[in-house]
């Protein structure tokens, strides 16, 4: 029964379209229908990926990107949640802080790359500047919104049970705001991947993003396509993994379809 359901859930037409496109691509390059010098066949790209993996350079670049995403996202989450909690709980902080945040928030993350380069040169610090600054906002705004939207009655409930303020926050308000915080953290993580790639392209000659540029400049299209494919797969795996993890931990955070 279960196996039949999983069988029905497999998207056969989708997979066959995917395979068909790859096959058409391969065939047209092999048969010379596309004779563009920078356009390798899928098999050449796969061979390129295997070669890069055997060199160990692919793993090294992948680990660098993962590490900087992890560091950047952790910093952004800690800062975003702390400031978001402050803004959510204190009307005073909202009154004297919210407009500043609304002014700073639209600065595109990439704009910090020249500043990071000015301060730190080509380095991991520059990469973190570009990764952390834009990823703080989704966590911060979602945390603030989550706390501000908690039913006021919950505080009354806490008072009835004679909880002190700390206990009200710890046992009632935080758990109620948690789904919103988790959603913010999830948005920040996918943004962190994008910004890490951006930073590696312009600001830190290491990692997967730099790998793409390096192979483009070396005119090794098969290696460049291999790096792009790895970046795409990393995006898929990160998104799906975090989504599965968070929805199993907090079922109410499952993304609802757009209505």
């Amino acid at each position: 029964m279960a196996s039949r359901r999983t069988l029905a859930n497999i998207n056969f037409s989708g997979i066959s379209v995917f395979v068909l496109i790859l096959a058409a691509w391969e065939a047209s390059v092999r048969l010379g229908a596309i004779t563009f010098e920078f356009f390798p066949a899928p098999s050449a790209i796969f061979a390129g990926a295997v070669e890069l993996a055997r060199d160990g350079i692919l793993l090294q670049d992948l680990l660098h990107t993962l590490l900087s995403i992890a560091i950047g996202w952790t910093i952004a989450t800690i800062v975003g949640v702390s400031v978001g909690l402050l803004l959510g709980f204190s009307p005073l902080a909202r009154r004297y802080g919210l407009a500043s945040i609304e002014v700073l928030r639209p600065i595109p993350g990439i704009a910090f790359a020249p500043l990071g380069l000015l301060l730190f040169g080509f380095s991991l610090q520059t990469e973190l500047v570009v990764t952390v600054l834009p990823t703080v906002w989704p966590v911060m705004i979602n945390t603030m919104g989550g706390v501000a939207n908690v039913q006021p009655r919950l505080t009354d409930v806490g008072r009835t049970f004679r909880l002190n303020s700390y206990e009200v926050v710890r046992y009632l308000l935080l758990p109620a705001a948690m789904p919103s915080i988790v959603v913010g953290a999830r948005i920040s993580l996918s943004l962190a991947l994008v910004m890490a790639i951006v930073a590696e392209i312009v600001g830190n000659p290491e990692g997967l993003g730099y790998g793409i540029v390096r192979e483009q400049q070396a005119l090794h299209p098969e290696f460049m396509f291999a790096y792009i494919a790895v970046v795409g797969l990393l995006g898929l795996i990160l998104n799906a993994g975090v989504l599965a993890l968070t929805t199993s931990l907090w079922p109410s955070t499952a993304p609802r379809p757009v209505a």
Binding site: G14, V17, F38, G97, L98, A111, L193, I201, G209, G232
Partner: protein, 266 residues
């Protein structure tokens, strides 16, 4: 007369929802302290007055205006192309669930792909020019709009379509009365996601290739260690983001007043 009144009332509500201007105090304090506490002319943390001097320097060379126009033009034209392409393809995919299912894995892969990763690819294929910049921006910004449109069409409630059949609505009426109201909020949401992406990608391409634009000015300022210009341009880009985002928000709320989002439950 009443229309006028309600417009005023709506404007009043909008103003009252804005965050209090007192909230700007932290930024103002930091900038003033920065200006007053500076020690000489730091090459890394120049005071705000040096930012202004830097901007005047660039503007005097006549480069600031042309670069701003080039950047804004790319953002606006790129976004326009991506809206048209995203909506058209999204509608085509959404109309036929079978096509949607067949293209599903492909679309998922492109959605998960961080857009900056395709920039070197586009440079290799299209070379260093305006067309390449526009292509990258349009293609990357298209995905959120496309996916939001197609899923909104898939979610039009079947009862609504049955109703339109029993009322014998013509195709045009059906589109006007059922499809557009169901899809417009989703398209706007897609544009909301796409807008910051277009800004980031435009600047990224300009920084990477030094094609004319604000991004090229930024990276040139950094290479020449003109720290005042680096900070000044950062403020300018922030201003662009602020104006574009808020301009879109105003347009969005105006459009949503015409086509309010609706959530039909069976």
């Amino acid at each position: 007369m009443t229309g006028q009144m309600s417009k005023f009332a709506a404007f009043g509500r909008m103003v009252s929802q804005l965050p209090s201007p007192r909230g700007l105090l932290p930024i103002v304090l930091v900038l003033v302290a920065w200006q007053l506490l500076q020690t000489g002319n730091s090459p890394y943390f120049p005071p705000p007055s040096a930012w202004w001097r830097g901007m005047v320097q660039i503007a005097a060379g006549g480069k600031l205006l042309t670069a701003s126009i080039a950047t804004i033009e790319t953002i606006v034209v790129g976004l326009a192309i991506s809206i048209v392409a995203g909506v058209v393809i999204g509608v085509l995919i959404g109309i036929s669930p079978r096509t949607g299912r067949a293209l599903g894995p492909l679309l998922e892969f492109f959605r998960a792909m961080p857009p900056p990763a395709i920039v070197p690819l586009a440079i290799l294929f299209l070379g260093y020019d305006e067309r390449m910049k526009l292509t990258i921006v349009a293609i990357s910004a298209m995905w959120p709009i496309l996916l939001n449109t197609s899923s909104a069409i898939l979610q039009i409630h079947p009862i609504l379509l049955d109703v339109s059949t029993s009322l014998r609505l013509s195709v045009l009426e059906r589109i006007r009365l059922i499809v557009i109201p169901s899809v417009v909020p989703a398209i706007l949401l897609g544009i909301r996601i796409a807008l910051p992406l277009t800004i980031v990608l435009t600047l990224l391409v300009e920084i990477l290739t030094s094609i004319e634009g604000i991004g090229a000015l930024m990276i040139a300022a950094q290479r020449n260690f003109q720290s005042g210009q680096v900070y000044g341009l950062l403020v300018l880009v922030g201003l662009f983001g602020f104006v574009l985002n808020n301009g879109f928000s105003i347009a969005q709320s105006a459009i949503l007043r015409r086509w309010p989002p609706r959530n039909v439950q069976a």
